[in-house]
């Protein structure tokens, strides 16, 4: 018995030890990980809770970036004869170099920023075993469209819009792997070859439509297959590819427009009621969009069949991904604003305000966007402004907001802007530079220079090192 | 130089009958215009250079003379200029009576030696490229004095005939040109100007002139059809001998300052 007890005891002891060990090793580890995740999310959330400072380019220009700026220094692209003569290949090389140069010079590429190292890390993880992958240089662009692009010189540009949209690291890895596949299969060059033969693609309208899509469906499917292989090899969950594709196409936020209406105190009936994105965009664009959607459905089905599911959603860092994702969402607003797409900036700000209701940056952007829209309305240029950003209004919510801004009376928009601005000015007028200067500019436009003088003086007093300081000073002296 | 040497030696000084005053007035008017136009806005010139000196390379060949001038950019697209022209062209006369008898033209050639000063106005058609570069339309008006030498065929009582030369001096001459041109600047200072247009010239013969017998006006009118146009004559006048036709000029010059 004793021995039995002992045995039992020892057995139980062993069991307990094992269980304890198991708990310590696995469950605690899980718990700890879970705790760390919660904590990091809370910390991350707290980082953006009150304010956000947009990424500003600083430091020395990185060598690879600097190299791309020099027009005379052409990037060597080694290409074999793909049905093109030498001069054409040279021409392709030149075009690639100069187009990239223009992108780099436009100030649309981030450098020395927090996002790029993370995306590079993910790329490195993906391509550890891939021969020749060391040439791939990754950059993050300010472009808001959720996409990425690779060039035949191995420059991979991931848009900030993509980082803002994706849900996990595996999805990002899929997109990167997909682009690397394009590079490995020389798709940019083949696309160029295809464009050089207009006679073949101008036979029918449908062919023209196909030509407008960057790569052929065949190339895309081949790239997807290669991407799945890379993801599997790296240990990522490859089935997320289907969701990544879906996210790149959709931007649905439930009841977004109601939030906008509520915030701006606009009656629900004032919106362009039953307006759909397709009717707003026009028939042709819708058809192109529809065609692209049909192609994507096919790709999604293929990924779901060929992909394998596992736990590999985050292999580099989940917290880093979350941090970068949040940052990218703020950056998307900033870049929408830079591109004068004030409707999208306003909409995205209001949507992000659901998560960060007290964020001053978002309040400032709403104020600024409303003021800019009012300014264009007052100058009679609203229609022209909206038309230039029309291609961004792919969702019904954005189409309706854009339509509303087009139809709204100047006095109504003045009232909306004035009411919101006044509210924010009372809260943040002394601490938030943008709100203070926007209030001054708004007052100048609506009530004249004399009325705005006090606001400009207020700005000068509270923000002596502000970027608008000279402007404010100039308005007073004038 | 050849043209200058060939110029008639017994030409009277251009100081008689008060015409000098007119020329002097024109000159002063030109200078006045130039200086007042400094104050006018948007006058650029070519890189700030507005004064040009040009000489025609066609005149020594076609008219045995010289044609040179100073031009000044007064407005964005407007250039005015002062031209000096000297021609010493010789003409083969067609005397019907002489031809009937000798079946040839007179061996002595007639000549019109003309010294003119003129004003030029050019309007440059290109709004974006200011004068003096590009295509332009021009108008020119010349005024001057000419000496005419011609021969008259005289048949004495049906026995013999001879050619009698006569000279009419100090004939008032006028010329009017209208056309289009193109001017290009090379190396920032060298000008090449090509123009083409209609040219009309007239010699106002004084009826009181002793040398001018009634029929001699017709003799002059017979050969003066190319006085004015330098490549192609389209017609002539009888009362005031001269012609109308096409003219071409190729000028080379420099942008002074």
């Amino acid at each position: 018995m004793k021995s039995n007890w002992n045995f039992k005891f020892f057995k139980n002891k062993e069991l307990i030890t094992n269980k304890l060990f198991h708990f310590l090793c696995f469950d605690l580890k899980f718990g700890f990980t879970f705790f760390v995740c919660i904590l990091s999310c809370a910390v991350l959330s707290a980082q953006f809770e009150t304010d956000y400072a947009p990424i500003e380019i600083s430091g020395e220009i990185p060598p690879r970036f600097y190299h791309s700026l020099k027009g005379k220094t052409e990037i060597e692209i080694v290409l074999e004869d793909e049905g093109m003569n030498r001069s054409r290949r040279k021409d392709f090389s030149t075009k690639t170099s100069f187009t990239l140069r223009e992108i780099f010079l436009s100030g649309s590429i981030y450098y020395n920023d927090p996002c790029t190292p993370y995306v590079r890390e993910v790329t490195k993880k993906l391509t550890e075993e891939l021969v020749g992958s060391e040439n791939i240089s990754v950059f993050i662009s300010r472009f808001v469209s959720p996409n990425a692009a690779i060039w035949q010189d191995a420059t991979l540009i991931v848009n900030i819009g993509l980082l803002a949209r994706l849900e996990n690291e595996a999805q990002l890895a899929f997109v990167i792997a997909h682009e690397i596949a394009h590079y490995e299969n020389k798709h940019p060059f083949l696309q160029y070859v295809r464009k050089q033969k207009p006679a073949n693609i101008q036979k029918r309208a449908l062919d023209n439509l196909k030509a407008s899509v960057a790569y052929t469906q065949q190339n895309e499917i081949a790239a997807d297959a290669f991407a799945l292989e890379l993801l599997n090899r790296a240990g990522y969950d490859s089935r997320v590819g289907a969701r990544a594709i879906e996210l790149m196409m959709n931007d649905k936020v439930a009841d977004g427009i109601r939030d906008v209406g509520r915030l701006l105190d606009i009656e629900g009936t004032d919106w362009c009621g039953d307006l759909e994105a397709r009717t707003y965009m026009g028939k042709d664009r819708h058809e192109a969009h529809h065609f692209a959607r049909a192609m994507l459905q096919q790709r999604k089905a293929k990924i779901n069949t060929d992909g394998t599911s596992n736990d590999g959603l985050f292999l580099v860092s989940e917290s880093d991904f979350e941090h970068i994702r949040r940052m990218a969402q703020f950056e998307v607003i900033e870049n929408h604003f830079r591109e004068a797409d004030y409707v999208s900036a306003l909409y995205q700000s209001i949507m992000l305000q659901r998560i960060y209701p007290e964020n001053q940056y978002l309040q400032g952007k709403i104020v600024e966007s409303l003021f800019q829209l009012y300014l264009y309305k007052k100058r009679g240029e609203m229609r022209h402004l909206l038309k230039t950003s029309q291609e961004n209004y792919l969702t019904t919510d954005l189409s309706r907001l854009s339509c509303f801004m087009n139809q709204v009376e100047e006095s109504t928009l003045e009232r909306i802007t004035g009411t919101y601005l006044k509210e924010q000015y009372e809260r943040y007028g002394r601490t938030h530079e943008i709100i203070a200067i926007t209030a001054a500019r708004y007052t100048e436009f609506t009530s004249g220079r004399a009325a705005a003088k006090a606001h400009f003086e207020h700005y000068i007093k509270h923000f002596p090192t502000g970027k608008h300081y000279l402007y404010a000073k100039g308005r007073i002296l004038k | 130089m050849t043209a200058l040497i060939s110029y008639h030696s017994n030409r009277k000084q251009w100081t008689t009958d008060g015409r000098r005053q007119t020329t002097k007035g024109m000159l002063w008017a030109f200078v006045f215009c130039c200086f007042t136009c400094f104050a006018w806005g948007q006058t650029t010139g070519y890189q700030g250079k507005r004064l040009m000196f040009k000489t025609d390379v066609v005149s020594p060949i076609s008219e045995r003379g010289i044609n040179m001038g100073l031009e000044y950019v007064v407005l964005r697209n407007v250039v005015i200029g002062l031209d000096f022209s000297l021609t010493g062209r010789q003409y083969t006369q067609n005397l019907p009576t002489y031809y009937e008898l000798h079946n040839a033209s007179p061996p002595v050639k007639a000549s019109i030696r003309d010294m003119q000063v003129g004003i030029t106005g050019q309007y440059f058609l290109n709004t974006a490229l200011p004068a003096p570069k590009g295509s332009y339309v021009f108008g020119k008006y010349y005024i001057g004095q000419a000496d005419i030498f011609a021969v008259d065929h005289i048949i004495r009582e049906g026995k013999d005939d001879y050619l009698e030369g006569f000279q009419i001096n100090n004939v008032s001459s006028h010329q009017f040109d209208l056309g289009v041109g193109y001017q290009e600047v090379f190396f920032g200072f060298l000008l090449v100007d090509f123009d083409f247009g209609m040219s009309a010239a007239s010699l106002f013969l004084n009826k009181n002139n002793e040398e001018l017998l009634p029929h001699r006006r017709d003799i002059v009118a017979d050969f003066a059809d190319k006085h004015g146009p330098n490549i192609f004559s389209l017609g002539t006048w009888r009362d005031t001998p001269g012609g109308i036709g096409l003219s071409v000029h190729l000028k080379i010059g420099i942008l002074l300052f």
Partner: protein, 269 residues
């Protein structure tokens, strides 16, 4: 009995007389031909277009301009081939850009303007302010210039004036005003050239009526050159000067010198 009245013909009368005679002149075939020829020459002549918009205050501040910062001038060379395909010529444009930069600096100096030209070809690794300050400003200037007009577009369409002056130009963001301190001038310019070489559509009329000109015209390609200058005053946060000109001629050094000098001349006046 008629008394003969002798009227001395003065110069004006002589001209009038000449005119009368000319009127009597019959329109012969060669005369008609030359008239048509001249008209064709006039209409086939190199034409251009110029549009200058500036705010009134910019003119009144003419003595204070002094310095302008020109942010990376652009030179774009487009060639449309026979099959209606338009391509950009990058290498040639890059070489021409260097020439344009020299021409801009030289002609600004001739107009007593100091042009600080920021050339991206000469950027150093430490010149990060180009990306943080000037590239966004250039983008803003171009964007605002496209989106906003000095006046309503419909009104502008009827306006044929070459030089226009307005109250209040297009408004740019005010956060660039701090650049005035860094560069010692509130004026920042975006300048550039776009040249479009098109296949010759051969004017048959000119070929038939004026063979020497017609042949030259028939075989030489058609080239349109566009030159633009947009100047923003960052302290006032508005675009104060905007100029676009088109010339039916290639962007040769002589043409560019004439264009650029004239442009700076208008700015400095």
């Amino acid at each position: 009995m008629k008394i003969p009245v002798k009227i001395k013909m003065g110069t004006p009368m002589k001209i009038a007389f000449m005119k009368r005679q000319m009127c009597r002149f019959s329109f012969s075939l060669p005369f008609s031909f030359s008239l048509i020829f001249s008209l064709i020459l006039i209409f086939s002549a190199c034409r251009g277009a110029l549009q200058v918009d500036r705010v009134r205050e910019f003119k009144s501040e003419k003595t204070n301009i002094g310095k302008i910062v020109c942010i990376d001038p652009d030179f774009e060379l487009l060639i449309t081939t026979g099959n209606r395909k338009t391509e950009r010529q990058y290498k040639r444009a890059s070489a021409k850009e260097i020439q344009l930069n020299n021409i801009l600096v030289r002609n600004a100096r001739k107009n007593n303007l100091t042009l600080e030209l920021v050339d991206t070809e000469r950027l150093l690794p430490s010149d990060m302010e180009y990306f943080s300050q000037l590239a966004p400003l250039k983008r803003e200037i171009l964007q605002v210039s496209f989106l906003q007009d000095f006046l309503n577009r419909k009104k502008r369409r009827n306006q044929q004036k070459v030089f226009n002056r307005y109250e209040g130009g297009p408004i740019i963001a005010s956060h660039f005003s701090y650049l005035a301190d860094e560069y010692n001038t509130p004026y920042f310019a975006v300048q550039g050239i776009t040249t479009h070489r098109k296949p010759n559509n051969g004017r048959l009329v000119l070929l038939l009526t004026a063979p020497p000109f017609g042949v030259a015209d028939f075989f030489s390609p058609e080239v349109d050159t566009y030159y633009y200058t947009i100047i923003a005053d960052v302290v006032r946060a508005e675009i104060v000067y905007r100029e676009i000109r088109k010339v039916d001629a290639p962007a040769s050094d002589t043409n560019l010198n004439a264009l650029v000098y004239d442009s700076f001349n208008i700015i400095s006046q």
